[in-house]
Amino acid sequence: MASLLEAFAGRPRLHVLDLGPAVGGNVEFLSRFGCKLYIQDLYPALVPWQTAIGGLPTPGAATVATIDRAAVREAHETWDARPPRPDGGDEETGLAGRFGQLLAFPEETRFDAVLIWDLINYLERREVAALARQLARFCGPGAVMFALISILKQIPAEPMRFRILDQEHLAYETRTAAVRPCPRYAPAELSELLRGFRLDRSFLMRHGTQEYLFARQAG
């Protein structure tokens, strides 16, 4: 958090996009920076769509004992091999359209910071790339993206709720006892997926979470 808040320093009238659930404590904390805070809890909107396209198992219902990894892999391979859509669209178009719907802001919108929290742990690679493309449209050069990436084999089946306690501490709350496999994205892979953003710094915390701060590149 400290590195994120350093990026806030000296910036007047910050525009911050929070892609997690609305947390009162975070609103109160960020109000000290004179932010205009946009809250768009992305995950609940993505889950039905992920399930419909044969994505990862429905969160909340998955446990380590019941995930059929072969079936998940087959679903992805089947999806990758499916013929083009009759309407001429393709998966990339579908993904871009979906994130375009979920993150629809006026064109002149520019965010100074995006709080992704642990959402990336729940997205497939194609989704991470599509999300980055959509966010890049609304982030000016120097805008920062804050993400928490797990390096554990298993993660809670749903994203956690994070509360900013102070400049150096976050509290997290798991919302389900179920678990699911974690994609465990490596830094190099994230840099490739999050095009338009460069890795500014990362910090390995306890509990198997790595804190990332990405910065929007110019151009």
């Binding site: 400290a2 659930p21 205009k36 946009y38 809250i39 802001f105 709720r161 509360r163 990362s202």
Partner: protein
């Protein structure tokens, strides 16, 4: 102005203190404070000097805590507006300024995350 638990409003809401316990699909403009209770859900923008969201409340939109443009009739130009816009309703007289403003009532157990050391250095390469 209080939107009760069973209230369903599809309009902009204006008041001195705006308390939402039900559902609002529209923008909130409060001169003093906007409070979203645990049972409340708002889809729209909030403009108020102080905003309080109780844990469990649902919100989607932007929160602008500059005071100068709060509670003005009509959607004020605070910058980007959401894709959906609603025609403003006439300013309503504050009905109730009650409500507990003592802070978020988060009853969920939280586990303190590990404290990060002062220096956030660069992580070793992958």
């Amino acid at each position: 102005m209080t939107i009760g638990k069973n209230g369903r409003v599809r309009a902009d809401v204006f008041g001195n203190t705006v308390v939402v316990e039900g559902e609002v699909d529209g923008n909130l403009f409060a001169q003093q404070q906007a409070i979203l209770r645990q049972s409340g859900a708002v889809r729209g923008n909030i403009t108020a000097p102080r905003v309080m969201l109780e844990d469990g409340s649902r919100f989607r939109g932007s929160i602008d805590m500059e005071s100068k443009d709060a509670a003005k009739p009509g959607p004020a130009a605070h910058g980007p507006q959401p894709a959906t816009a609603h025609p403003p309703t006439p300013a309503a007289a504050p009905v109730s300024a009650g409500g507990n403003a003592s802070g978020a009532a988060g009853a969920q157990p939280l586990h303190a995350a590990a404290a990060a050391p002062q220096a956030s250095g660069r992580a070793p390469g992958s």
